[in-house]
């Protein structure tokens, strides 16, 4: 039983439409529900502020909704895609587009809900600063949308990708991988940039005097948390625009797919870890505004170290992309790149989150007593170095898989 390529492309487009809006809706709804829950709490605490809380809840939800709308647009494009005369590669492009958009919306949707929720709570606690809270929420939520926008860009490129003249093997893995890598790597960054945005909004309600410092911190924190998604996007573009025609089909496809999986999974932990550190720094600034100058270096050092694990994963991805591949159809030859990418990708999740926790505790401590900042930063680095060790084991095993066995 064999079907024409048009049938397969149509099937992939419909499946993709479902996946894109399904994944996208999941997290957006959680974020908006969280904001609505906090709004309810806020109104019960301070019923006189019900109207502004409601207004800001709706604004915040509307911004969070945008990730869902991006997913809906991609789903619509896929559902009504013209499949006449399409070749089989187009099916993989549609699936990749769906994964890129759907997964990328998962981080941004919930992440944007965090500042919206804190804005509602802040208005009830401190009605005088509602203007500042709303502004901060809008900036913070908009920052959170960036990973979803990366996902949408890759998704659009894939939907309108010109596959003519490309061989099915191994290009399908590059095209599918471009979407998968972008989508996976955006999840952690979306959540991670929501955390400092939420914490800064909460901080402005508690300490309106510190608003400008908090906003600066939020912008730095959110921007640095985006880095893992940018690594994912770089790998995605390499997969799309490098020439794979000379790569042998077997085991070439596994190298291409592995490159996407490694950076995609590896970006998750550092994205969240960076968000934890920046969020605690914001809480610390709100507590003691004059500690910002002392705390920011510790925060940035912590975020950088936590970022290191995604850099390992990015490195493994690049190795997979540039290694000369010998044609071979044994199962071992294509299992090796897949095993190495899973090893490094999964192995980077824990250290990213663990180091985020170390950094988060350190900035909190420094905000409570600056005199020990130097010592605390040193001990933070010792703690992070030990936490890093498992990521290094993963890197070693991945490199052994690629170069030794």
């Amino acid at each position: 039983m064999s079907y024409s390529s048009e049938i397969w492309v149509g099937a992939a487009a419909y499946l993709g439409a479902g996946l894109a809006v399904g994944f996208g809706a999941l997290s957006v709804a959680l974020g908006e529900g969280y904001a609505a829950g906090k709004a309810g709490q806020a109104i019960s605490k301070n019923p006189s502020m019900a109207a502004p809380v409601m207004k800001n809840m709706l604004i915040g939800q509307a911004v969070a909704e945008s990730a869902g709308i991006f997913a809906l647009v991609v789903a619509m494009l896929l559902a009504f895609a013209d499949t006449t005369g399409a070749d089989l590669l187009q099916a993989f492009a549609y699936l990749g587009a769906a994964l890129s958009m759907g997964l990328a919306a998962m981080g941004s949707g919930f992440g944007s809900g965090l500042p919206a929720a804190e804005c509602c709570e802040g208005i009830a606690d401190n009605p005088e600063v509602q203007g500042g809270l709303a502004t901060n929420m809008l900036i913070g939520s908009a920052m959170c949308q960036t990973p979803a926008i990366f996902g949408m860009v890759v998704s659009f490129i894939l939907i309108f990708f010109d596959t003519s003249g490309m061989d099915l093997w191994p290009s399908w893995a590059a095209i599918l991988g471009a979407g998968l890598g972008m989508g996976l790597s955006a999840i952690g960054s979306g959540l991670g940039s929501g955390m400092p945005a939420g914490a800064a909004t909460q901080g402005i309600a508690r300490q309106p005097m510190a608003a400008s410092g908090l906003r600066t911190n939020m912008l730095i924190g959110s921007a640095v948390s985006q880095t893992p998604a940018i690594f994912g996007m770089v790998v995605s573009f390499l997969l799309l625009y490098m020439d794979w025609s000379s790569l042998p089909a077997w085991p070439g496809w596994a190298f291409l797919l592995g490159a996407a999986v490694s950076v995609g999974l590896g970006a998750f932990g550092p994205g969240i870890g960076n968000g934890m550190i920046a969020a605690n720094a914001a809480a610390g600034i709100a507590r003691m505004p004059d500690t910002q100058r002392t705390m920011t270096p510790a925060m940035l050092i912590g975020m950088t170290v936590s970022q290191s694990t995604v850099i390992y994963a990015f490195l493994v991805s690049l190795i997979l992309l540039v290694t000369p591949v010998q044609a071979s159809d044994t199962i071992v030859s294509w299992m090796i790149p897949l095993a190495a990418s899973l090893c490094m990708g999964l192995g980077a999740i824990g250290p990213g989150i663990g180091e985020g926790f170390v950094g988060a505790c350190t900035v909190t401590r420094i905000s409570r007593g600056m005199e020990n900042a130097g010592m605390l930063t040193r001990i933070m680095l010792v703690g992070m170095a030990v936490t890093e060790s498992t990521a290094i084991y993963s890197l070693i095993v991945a490199l052994v898989l690629l170069y030794v066995v």
Binding site: I331, I336, L346, C361, V382, T390, A391, Y393
Partner: protein, 82 residues
């Protein structure tokens, strides 16, 4: 494509090694991060005991690391011995 039995065994051993180290690295690292975070909180509260607390943190992390090392050992066994 016919897959030889010996090849299949070798391939699954390699994938097993990758998964063992990849998944096995998640838990210890989160746990060690938690230990270090709490140690830093404690040192901030009582800086005089920094030496003792750092030692305790390292001992705790060393024990937490053990499962990561088990994963590494199993991964290396699968890579080189099996």
């Amino acid at each position: 494509m016919a897959i030889e039995g010996a090849d299949l065994i070798r391939a699954t051993a390699l994938m097993g090694a990758g998964l063992a180290m990849g998944i096995g690295a998640i838990g210890p690292a989160v746990g060690e991060g938690f230990a270090a975070g709490k140690a830093i909180e404690a040192i901030g509260r009582n800086p005089k005991e920094a030496g003792l607390l750092t030692r305790t943190m390292l001992v705790g992390q060393a024990v937490t690391e053990s499962t990561g090392i088990y994963s590494l050992v199993v991964a290396l066994l699968l890579l080189f011995v099996v």
